[in-house]
Subunit: 726 residues, 2 copies
């Protein structure tokens, strides 16, 4: 259940209402996971306090306001603090404490591949410290939506809801504002949130993608309680002298109250903003300022500040620790060296982590903590909050509960059920222009095959869709690897999809399916990462698809014959003739000739030597050629994890669906040698492993019979013939 806008949200609301009622009876109404999603009550009874310090800058002789004292900087405001003399016998001020189980609302604008990576680090930091259910409202372009929808769907974090809003539809509302900030048009979109978010949403925390949490977001949410009746926007003071102007000659910033406010972290009272006519208000201010100012320099922030300068009663200043700004000439040290605790850091320099700052190393460490943090570990329940499980999680939990821990194949079955987090198009990617005979190379790999990528790029000039099985930390190493490689960073047509590691087995077929699902051309070449294609293969395949008129509906799988070299140093043949010469010289072999000839025997290499035209071959047991098929071909059977039988089952299914197997006479790929991977060496020797594989095969055959009836009988017969090792 990733509610897409209203209809799903309504369904969710109904479900939540039900759960709320159940929760009310079970827990006496103490737990309100969903109350504020209904636009409901504020924790603490709706009596708003006010923050126990004034914003008014104390203006020293030099005319510049000084930062406030340590306590005013602190995010944690104990009752009785702030110069109030407790002997006055005031009624005790309710200390806003994080409300257990209340649903907190967060809105973030996010566009493009790189911001989609950034937002995940932000979300990880938020989830790490949070104790409350969260509803994320994401204003995204199509790229970010595609990435984040898949990510959250597969992440399945308990008590997190995500709604998407189409940023492109909002563009007209802000595109009239000339803006020089690096965030571009999307940088202005926070202004229109009150109109975009659901009308029953009362409060929301708005965040930039470049902030990192170092504390529980509920503490920030609790600051809403300090808002007076008139206050609508909570903001932290700007931690630079930007709005004083005079940073350079002709520096003319937008108007602001004192040092102004930073909009990386905002608390919005949406109800009051709507009531107060926010849209008109900011548009009027912006229009007027733009009569004398050429453009915004800091996007939405300039406009927020101009509005606040005009209507200072709108703003509730927040303690500085909730937005520690790390720009080049930041004054943030005054904040964090006196405060007992940092709450949120904000990489608000265009240089981001490369900003110069004497403490930047420590801040970077906090950021890296979450950048490299294993997101799987955030699938933690909120104890004592009766929130419904994310979509799919319930079925998954049930399926996992049905597994027998004593079963020797328990780990296999657990791995099959594992839902891996998937981050599609991890790096910027330009889909190839649509061409009727185009082919995408599809493969999967883990860290130990990264060094194959450059060679593969040299051998295959066409589009690729690659699934990478990585930890979060490895994903960052991979990112750096691509950035430092001239060959890889020059390619925009290679899509990298990160599938996050979980469990003891390499989920080979799940990985293949991820890469296959993301291929955008009509045809796919289903390869493996250890193979290098003939230099001409990409062109040749497209020509063959055209020549064989596959686009006319002919159901065929084009077989690319596979070879291997056992030599570690090796000069790649540039033609079939050269390949045959190497084969005759014993420098090359047909693939797995020594250990498992059955896997490729039906390709009929003897025929291939002489062939001038594509020729048809028949399926036989254990055949597992590398093939080119239409993108809508059957998916791989994800029950096969680890090593063994993963391709065999797929080819069997192609045959069951009556794909012709056509061998291409000029096509070839060559397998390069490598040390056995850890996964393979760990399991190959295990008898349990073999037994479990056999059990999986049997189950696969049963399913095949169910799907294809009597026609599937031949596969079972073939299986029962005596054979060699797996």
């Amino acid at each position: 259940m990733l509610p897409r806008g209203r209809p799903r949200a309504l369904g969710a609301a109904a479900l939540l209402l039900l759960l709320f009622l159940i929760g009310f009876f079970l827990f006496g109404g103490d737990l309100d996971c969903e109350r504020s999603q209904q636009g409901g009550e504020w924790w603490g009874g709706g009596v708003a306090g006010s923050l126990p310090y004034s914003l008014t800058p104390r203006v020293p002789p030099d005319g510049r306001p000084r930062p406030r004292g340590a306590a005013a900087l602190d995010g944690d405001l104990p009752a009785g603090y702030g110069g109030h003399n407790s002997s006055d016998c005031d009624p005790p001020r309710p200390r806003p404490r994080p409300p257990k189980c209340e649903l907190l609302q967060v809105a973030i604008v996010c566009a493009g591949h790189n911001s989609s990576r950034d937002i995940i680090t932000l979300v990880k930091s938020m989830l790490f410290y949070r104790k409350n259910p969260l509803h994320l409202h994401l204003v995204t372009d199509a790229v970010a939506r595609n990435i984040l929808e898949t990510l959250f769907h597969t992440w399945m974090v308990p008590a997190v809801w995500v709604s998407f809003y189409n940023a492109d539809e909002l563009k007209p509302q802000v595109s009239w504002i000339p803006n020089k900030h690096y965030s571009g048009l999307y940088g202005l979109m926070k202004l229109v949130l009150p109109g975009v978010l659901p009308p029953d949403l009362v409060r929301v925390i708005v965040l930039d993608t470049d902030v990192t949490f170092a504390s529980n977001i509920a503490e920030l949410w609790a600051l809403f309680a300090y808002f007076s009746d008139k206050q609508v926007i909570g903001l932290v003071e700007n931690q630079s002298d930007w709005y004083f102007g005079n940073l350079w000659r002709n520096h003319r910033p937008w108007p602001a109250l004192g040092r102004g406010f930073n909009t990386g972290v905002i608390l919005l009272r949406l109800d009051r903003l709507r009531q107060a006519g926010w849209e008109q208000m900011w548009k009027m201010t912006a229009t007027r300022e733009l009569l004398t100012l050429p453009a915004t320099s800091l996007a939405d922030q300039d406009i927020f500040n101009a509005v606040i300068k005009e209507h200072p009663w709108l703003v509730q200043p927040l303690p500085c620790v909730w937005n520690v700004q790390l720009s080049d000439h930041t004054l943030a040290e005054r904040c964090y060296s006196e405060a007992s605790d940092l709450k949120v850091i904000h990489w608000n320099s265009p240089k981001k982590l490369r900003v110069k700052n004497k403490h930047v190393e420590s801040f970077r460490n906090l950021y890296l903590t979450f950048l490299e943090y294993d997101g799987n570990l955030l699938r933690r329940e909120l104890f004592g909050c009766p929130c419904p499980l994310p979509p799919g999680a319930k079925q998954l939990q049930r399926a996992l509960a049905r597994l027998d821990e004593e079963d020797a194949c328990f780990e296999f079955r657990q791995q099959q059920l594992t839902v891996h987090r998937v981050h599609i198009t991890f790096l910027p990617h330009k889909p190839p222009p649509s061409q009727p005979h185009d082919v995408t190379l599809v493969a999967q790999l883990s860290m130990d095959r990264l060094q194959m990528l450059e060679a593969l790029c040299r051998h295959w000039p066409g589009p690729m869709s690659l699934a990478l099985y990585l930890t979060d930390a490895e994903a960052q190493q991979f990112l750096r690897f691509v950035e430092t490689s001239a060959v890889l960073s020059a390619r925009q047509d290679v899509a990298y999809h990160v599938v996050y590691r979980e469990g003891p087995f390499y989920p080979i077929n799940q990985l293949r399916n991820v890469a296959l699902a993301q291929a955008l051309t009509p045809y796919v070449f289903l390869s493996d990462i250890d193979f290098l294609p003939a230099y001409s293969l990409y062109d040749y395949l497209r020509a063959s698809i055209k020549q064989l008129e596959l686009d006319g509906g002919r159901k065929a799988a084009l077989v690319v014959p596979a070879f291997e070299t056992l030599h570690y140093r090796f000069s790649f043949p540039t033609s079939k003739a050269e390949l045959l010469a190497l084969l005759d010289a014993g420098s090359l072999h047909t693939f797995r000739y020594h250990e498992w000839p059955r896997g490729h025997a039906p390709t009929d290499y003897a025929h291939w030597r002489e062939a001038q035209e594509p020729y048809r071959v028949q399926w036989a047991a254990d055949y597992e050629p590398y093939v080119v098929v239409p993108r809508d071909c059957p998916r791989y059977d994800s029950r096969f994890v680890g090593f063994g039988w993963n391709k065999v089952a797929h080819i069997m299914e192609l045959d069951a669906q009556e794909y012709e197997l056509l061998v291409l006479p000029e096509a070839f790929i060559i397998h390069l040698p490598h040390a056995p991977s850890l996964d393979i060496s760990r399991f190959r020797s295990s008898p349990t492993y073999r037994d479990c594989l056999q059990a999986l095969k049997d189950e696969f055959h049963q399913d095949l019979s169910r799907s294809y009836g009597a026609a599937a009988l031949k596969y079972l017969t073939a299986l029962q013939q005596p054979r060699g090792p797996v």
Copy 2:
């Protein structure tokens, strides 16, 4: 400065006093990083409050006390909470808040290899959330001390001090107590802490190694403020029915107050315990109980509970969230499902993470967070606390500051200066019995060579000292890899030393030096991980050392000739004759024969073919043989990071120190092929890399000339001759 007991502690105290005075003048005495190390004041003026709820179990009809309500369970106790009617106009209760910059004292008992790994996870979780300086008091056996001293020394976490206390000396104080608990004798040592810790230490938090923090330890420390004048021990109630007895027939637990208390997390007022004659008190109680009970079942916990039963005024009960106990039949859910926040979890089942519990997955995730957390990221400063830097850190900071970021070799120089965290003997290890001619194989590797370990163990039956360059998460993968390998887990004479990754280059010579420093035999065979030794090599080397009378003071390096196979599948020769046959057949080559014959040419393979006796060879430029040398040989030059010249420089230094180079006629090792490592492929193509390597070589030669004078001239001359590629 890792103070070993008193003398160092005194020095530290003097230094701290100085810094305190500086701090006082600079910061007006607000920051007291060191005050309580001096046995000083409690934050808040020393007025102790009392926790606003009573421990006395509310006894329901079934006679078993029920857990207290949610608020009493919470770790965070806001002022005005707890049924106090604020309209009473009481003077406001001082809410104990974590004191900024106060030094917190923590004591932990730790013995053996496995506990030394556990304690690091605990410490990581503590450091992650802490905002205060910490002083760790570690009561350790020799193994743990060796490991942890190296670890903390290389970790260099700001504002963390570590003192060690010899657990073996304390054994007589507790060994008279029969104890059935799995923690053994060390499980009883918490009892003697008041006598062991420095007499001026007033307060200490005592932790078991199997607890994990989920919050700032200062919040726990702040609970000292609730102690009444009589209270000396803060404890969390036991979260099982153990002390009620009757869990099974003849279950006779030690006496306890109600459900009893768990001693995984203890607050101790050491001053009052000493005053109250604690040592006599617990010994008397234990002696008396042991008249009727055969032994303690839960080690120290039984005795603490018996004492408290007798003197209930001694205990200050702590909120349950500070010790959430995850044993098999825990009642902890009553605590954590009502509390807003967990503070500390305690894996107090002997099954540890394999304990059965419906929420164990979520708790495990918290644990795994810190198990796999990159400890380097905890080298964060405490902003605004004027604590001195850890030993070496200041010089390091200065050296790093002197580097020029614009220098093309900046990253090289930064890497050379990097102090890597080192965890020696990461896995249980039994040093080999001392033998006069014994040889340890010394090598280093990273994750991508793990699969070499089994083969290496088969080829080398003797002791090994291996440095592994890993991330924290990889170290756990490595652990599982060893545990699941029958070959590896059978070996106790292989010492694995984890050096934690940091920086872009593989610090090859630093790794070699770590492995070399930990070798315990008189001789070492300096090998590389990609080589397999002849099956007979270990025996042959020991025989040769004896025969050549190296222990008589003959200064020699025994050369083991190196070969390579380019074939991925390969049958290892069992004798020199077989090796020569393979060489003649072209299946084997002398090492790097094709790309860099100079590296091994001086070994004189032609001579070796015929040799029956060890023969002497002369050093020549670029010679880099694999050698056997005495353990006290020169260290590798750690300026060489990444690839290139790292062994060459070492051999040059051996020659400069006039080691004879003797080639052994029956010794050989063979290099197996592998894909180029990521590190090598990333840098080999870079011209900057070559330039920097040249600069490093020049600097090495200058240093050599300084050390060896005119004798080093020959190396410079050799360098200046025209040569091939690096």
